[in-house]
Amino acid sequence: MLLNTYTDSLDFNALTQWIDQALSSVMPAWGVVLTECILIGLCLLLGYALIALALIYIERKVCAFFQCRLGPNRVGPYGTVQSIADMVKMLIKELITIDRVDRFLFNLAPYIVIISSVLAFGCLPFAKGLEVLDFNVGIFFLMAVSSIGVVGILLAGWSSNNKYSLIGAMRSGAQMISYELSIGLSLMTMVVLAGTMQLSEIVERQADCWFLFSGHIPAVIAFLVYLVAGTAETNRGPFDLPEADSELTAGYHTEYSGMHFGFFYLAEYLNLFIVSAVAATMFLGGWMPLHIAGWDGFNAVMDYIPSLVWFLIKVGVIIFVIMWFKWTFPRLRIDQLLKLEWKYLLPINLLNLLLMVIIVVTGLHF
């Protein structure tokens, strides 16, 4: 099988094993676990912050280019330091205490949002051997933790003592719960094809052919549905009703300031990354290079590209498409949003799931 021949030019297994051995030689077993946990946590948070900053910069540039503008171009070459400058500003800004809010819940909400997205972030298989949480219900766990975020958003809107925020939060609740269904069903379609929920396994099984191609019709439908539902899940345009700046000023985070606002902001971009990463993993083979059966020379060339790069390229393409959605379409209204889900996406999804089961049972997939 191709799988066995693929050796990553940038293998993380070796690195992690070397660290493990180095630590074991100097401290007892519990110390090794503790140190590794801290190290991994730090790396995750660092990666989280860096990706969010990069995404904010990319979004601003992409959006500007769609709008015949140049975008940030003052801080650093081509404005690259802009989002770092923004982060510094955000960090040193005051956290304003608002009169008559439920202070505990108000302060808790951004942390719930950020924790849920960090947890989901931890599940992602970034490259061969580079995954933090990898167990047999991986995709299920990812779905479960990422939907905790809506609790944070509801709390934020509820506790803000602001009518706009409350409306935003209610919209967000209705939207997220509806679209969770579509995301779940479209991923379930792929789980039927993969036969496993473990993310590393799912990637390994796409070594010969990405699921998007091997599952043909139902996989393509599931992919499109997932893209739409994923966009809705991250509260991005055209589904940005909870924020809807022209209606609700800023929706659920109207009253937040400083780093608490920053958390919402970071989580929003990271959720975009997570949604795209899950799409890349489930449909486009994750970190697996593009292999075409029979073309050995081509496959060998593809293998030279490190798996992390493959992963980031795939995620990047999907992120660009989602940004392209946002910067083209007008916003939906709440009833249209729900109609789209319950009248179109859900029936399509259910039929699609059935189709996929038939195809898998009859062995019609590649």
């Binding site: 709008q67 009518k163 022209s246 000023t249 379409f329 007008p330 209204r333 709440i334």
Partner: protein, 541 residues
């Protein structure tokens, strides 16, 4: 006209007719409502459109001047009514006959203190509730001790005072606007979708709008009052600041009114230039409308496309007039300067440039399924309501009302060019949108005909350094970007006007919001507001 005169004389023998055009009738205060009702309902008169309502202080008496027009016959009449009671002036309300009177009566109350019997909402419209005195009265004391700059916020009334007549007795009434159980949200004064400092108090039932109360006056500058102490050339500078997207057209109306009063013949070349600039102004305004409506509906990218193209129009205007927004180009008797030599070339380039861009607009927004679903069937305004509220301009034409002043009473050189009056019959948000998009094309068509044919000659006639208007009342109107913009001047022969009133096209647009949005969602309120395209400085004046 004589027929109307005879009829009126028969019906109410106490009315007094004045000389001149249009027919001006002074009606005693006690019979006013009856006369107005028959003027509206009589099948041979049908004065169904209240064009303009002007509060007046004639020294001894306080009163109101009504400009009425019949949309089916096109004839016009001016009604005057007055009361000599300066302490506690009361007149009969006509808000049950014309919806447009509702807010206008509040404006008259605000400025002159005249209370209207039969109007259940007699709050001030522009000024604070705790304002002392009525500023447009000639004996108003403007000293700052009486009305200092107040730092505490003005309380919004939930229960509003009014006056009703019952069994011949006038009684104070109180009506409840919002009760305690209602979920009232402020949209504005600082809100991205109100296009300025306008405030809607919106009562919500979940996402659904139950009632909207409009609060104006955040940008009220008292321009009409200021005009009373400025010479005629000086008043011109202020019209640009009303509806800043129709600056040139507003000023055109005021210049026309003054020229009509003075009997000045404007040179042909100036008329052509004025018409060209009017249309350029309309282009820039409609492009901005398109952009902001897209933004209100969440299509931010489309917003930038509109602005990109509007920039070219602004460049053209700036090159000739020296101003982008505040063009300051019309003067009494013509225009300030001749057109810039580059203008013809630029306009031609633009006429070639814009149509492909309009195709792009259609692809990115008009045809978009989300945009269509958000606009179709939303906020339907019937033709009758449009007339009653006085919603003119593209919004009125979307309801099937032929109200284009350029066609009804051609000014400039509109009688010499061939253009269609864009009329649609749906009256919903999508029709209001389409009318404006089509008007962009129509404006290009007008420019195409004019730009090569500007006749040679003077661009202005010489006027005396000090301009005095003969005694009398003068009214003229133009089709501004968002509707009929009228100017009413009452002159007593001085170099200052005695009273100037601007018939703003945007006040009716704002007054109709409540009627249109009831039962729709918050997002629809934004879409409807965007499609009505009001400009707040024009509402507040």
């Amino acid at each position: 006209m004589n027929k109307i005169k005879d009829k009126l004389a028969l019906m109410a023998p106490s009315v007094v007719f004045a000389e001149g055009e249009p027919l001006t009738v002074t009606v005693p205060a006690g019979e006013f409502h009856a006369v107005a009702k028959s003027l509206r309902d009589d099948p041979e008169m049908r004065f169904d459109f209240l064009v303009c309502m002007t509060g007046m202080d004639w020294g001894e008496t306080l009163g109101v001047v009504y400009h009425l027009r019949s949309t089916s016959f096109g004839h016009e009449i001016v009604l005057r009514t007055e009361t000599s009671d300066r302490e506690n002036p009361e007149l009969q309300s006509v808000s049950d006959l014309w919806e447009a009177a509702q807010l206008n009566e509040r404006e008259v109350y605000d400025f002159y203190g005249i209370r209207f019997v039969g109007n259940s909402d007699m709050r001030r419209l522009y000024l604070r509730n705790d304002w002392v005195g009525y500023p447009f009265r000639k004996d108003y004391d403007a000293s700052p001790e009486i009305n200092p700059v107040r730092l505490e916020s003005d309380e919004s009334l939930d229960v509003v005072p009014g006056l009703q007549e019952e069994n011949g007795k006038i009684e104070e009434t109180e009506s409840v606007l919002f009760d305690d159980s209602e979920y009232v949200v402020n949209i504005g004064p600082q809100h991205p979708a109100t296009h300025g400092v306008l405030r809607f108090r919106v009562s919500l039932e979940g996402e659904i709008v139950k009632k909207v109360d409009v609060n104006c006056g955040y940008i009220h500058r008292g321009i009409e009052k200021m005009c009373e102490s400025l010479t005629y050339p000086q008043t011109l500078a202020l019209t640009d600041r009303l509806d800043y997207l129709a600056a040139h057209q507003n000023r055109h109306a005021l210049c026309m009114c003054i020229e009509k009063a003075m009997g000045i013949e404007v040179p042909e070349r100036a008329l052509y230039i004025r018409t060209i600039m009017d249309e350029l102004n309309r282009l820039s305004s409609h492009l901005l409308f398109w952009s902001t409506l897209c933004m209100d509906l969440g299509a931010l990218t489309a917003f930038f496309y509109g602005f990109r193209d509007r920039e070219k129009v602004l460049d053209m205007m700036e090159e000739t007039t020296g101003g982008r927004l505040i063009q300051n180009y019309n003067v009494i008797g013509g225009v300030m300067a001749d057109i810039h030599p580059n203008l013809v070339k630029r306009v031609k380039e633009f006429i070639a440039y814009l149509p492909p861009m309009l195709e792009e607009y259609d692809e990115v927004f008009t045809g978009n399924v989300i945009a269509q679903q958000r606009m179709k069937g939303i906020g339907v305004l019937t033709k009758e309501d449009a007339i009653s509220y006085g919603v003119t301009g593209p919004s009125g034409r979307a309801s099937g009302w032929h109200c284009d002043v350029r066609k009804l009473k051609p000014y400039g050189v509109y009688d010499k060019v061939d253009f269609k009056e864009i009329v649609r019959t749906g009256g919903d948000t999508f029709d209001r949108y389409l009318v404006r998009v089509d008007e962009i094309r129509e404006s290009l068509h007008i420019l195409e005909q004019l730009i090569d044919n500007v006749p040679a000659g003077d661009y202005a006639v010489k006027t005396k350094p000090i301009i005095r208007l003969p005694e009398g009342q003068f009214f003229s109107s133009v089709e501004a970007s968002r509707g009929e913009f009228g100017v009413y001047i009452e002159s007593r022969g001085d170099k200052y006007p005695y009273r100037v009133k601007f018939r703003s096209p945007c006040l009716p647009l704002v007054s109709v919001v409540d009627h249109l949005t009831r039962g729709y969602k918050i997002a629809d309120l934004i879409a409807i507001g965007g499609s009505l395209d009001y400009v707040v400085p024009d509402v507040d004046r």
